[in-house]
Symmetry: C2
Subunit: 375 residues, 2 copies
Amino acid sequence: MTFTVLKNDSGGTLARRGVLTTRHGNVQTPVFMPVGTQGTVKAMAPNELEEMGAEIILGNTYHLNLRPGMDIMSQAGGLHKFMDWNHAILTDSGGFQVFSLSKLNKKTPDGVHFQSHIDGSPLFMGPVESMAIQRIIGSDIAMAFDECTPYPVSHSDAEKSLELTLRWERISSEQPHAEGQMLFGIVQGSVYEDLRRHSIEELSKMPFDGIAVGGVSVGESEEEMVKVLRICGPLLPKDKPHYLMGVGTPRQMVLGIMNGIDMFDCVLPTRMGRNGSAYTPYGTIPVKAGKYKEDFTPILEGCGCYACRHFTKAYIRHLLNTNEILGSRLMTIHNLHYFVNLMREIRASLEDGTFGRLAEDVLKNYPEMTKAEDE
Amino acid sequence: MTFTVLKNDSGGTLARRGVLTTRHGNVQTPVFMPVGTQGTVKAMAPNELEEMGAEIILGNTYHLNLRPGMDIMSQAGGLHKFMDWNHAILTDSGGFQVFSLSKLNKKTPDGVHFQSHIDGSPLFMGPVESMAIQRIIGSDIAMAFDECTPYPVSHSDAEKSLELTLRWERISSEQPHAEGQMLFGIVQGSVYEDLRRHSIEELSKMPFDGIAVGGVSVGESEEEMVKVLRICGPLLPKDKPHYLMGVGTPRQMVLGIMNGIDMFDCVLPTRMGRNGSAYTPYGTIPVKAGKYKEDFTPILEGCGCYACRHFTKAYIRHLLNTNEILGSRLMTIHNLHYFVNLMREIRASLEDGTFGRLAEDVLKNYPEMTKAEDE
């Protein structure tokens, strides 16, 4: 339950090489966290995540609370045992889904009344409830309950949303934790510098173990995302881990790391994989496309993932076109391996002082902005 | 490319313990062959099939001919390379699908005019075409092109169908093979003893490396299936491998083995797995059922499969209910492991003279008949 910065970037950015110690092992940072929304990283088995070197995954409080529900989760002894994952787990607070998935929702000072997106049943979640759920899930890192401010938003609406979020975060920080569970606060304030500053100042007064930048990857331009990163980066407490929520593409992650971010999560590699897009150092390629029909080379030459070591684009394209589960599996394996391995390379580059060059390559090869969405 | 009977059942049935030598390794018999319709055993990766001890899988000529098509298959160097499976492959002839999947079909002495079930395009397949396709696929065992006689059928219609099948099988046997490729003939004749006898007599005159009993598991009662097995079993050439096509349940496989069958294939373990039914020594259990909601024991205590070593019914039920791919994967792993392992136990029982007792247990625990269908 400690975070140690091992080395700062010798190239002058805010990037740092660190290690986060959790109840379920060390997490080397910067790190990409595969998303396991419903107690499984889609299409993957835990041993495959281990094999590619994943040290932490994300679980989803909102979804797990609906299915399997906390009665079963409690009897199972928490999410690690339920899904047989013996490494670290971070849970989001459920706040994002309460607003984005539920058609009807009503805010109160203590939380949100909403309807289950599955059966429409009336539910309520606020900081007390979210923390209680995350306690039962037993994640290594819990997130404070917040409102992910929508985009675009006026300054006054963003301010109102931030004040409610700060109230909810304070209440979150006062709740009991699971044994050894860390709690991260979340910076909101949309694209407004004064609000982001105010948010960080207020959070600094609360007993959080880490700090996340939220409210990005919600439809804003990359320019605006970078603006938020440049505002927040220098102000984030240096001795705590920094997590950029819901981000993103290789390019966006590199931009985040340059601004002091240590942790990322995103559904892009899993979702785009299932949809047939494979990550390479030169952007994504549509493996379903006709031009790969007779391409008997791997998705990415030299890639060490199971898919690239054993199968060709022609075969994987065939699997995708015939809707075979193995197609989704191989694409997911490749993409997650690509993300996890990119972070491994970034960590090595921070250790040997070559991060600047690596970052430049990624920024050049991924010029485009891809919208990251919730799975 | 040889078949050796290692031991006959000391208990007086026609059961035998054998070994089939193929270009891609030995296959210990009796054996269950997982079905890989479209160049993949649904939901499985080749390494998982290897881990459970599968030595041979089935590929589907009709489906592979449509997708990816023989241009790509040929360039890939055959199915083994295409799907990265280095063990034995048996291909069916495509005859079954030509009749069952195609809405419009028209028989001629040389084959069948039919429409692709994917895009309706007009196609033709007969013994010459089927053998040419199987040559490109490069299976270790090819099947002669036949008509799987529908059930129920009159004696005269069954006889006509058999005569056409015998013509097609003769033509099949005259076609060139892939290097080292074996060719099996198929016994038809529906439930009629004279036709089955005639079929076996005629096939014995053709140069087949093995012989299959077809036209079962097509809707007939178990009593009728057993009747066919009892007619055919004693007449099948003792020095050749015997394959019961499309069968079946553990009970049906045991009945087959008692009547001299060495090889089986069936979509039941994969399909029923994806649909939520798990095989146990005491019949199948519906893992999706509410009663397993809080069941934190494996599908089958003591089972050595990956699913049972790591996960509970409660977790797998959650995955099935949330339509997670891992749910289909774990159910498929368990069921295929169950079938492959049952054959391993049957082989061991034939070696140590306890087959009779094992057979009795299976027949007692699986009293019901489950209809086996095409995947």
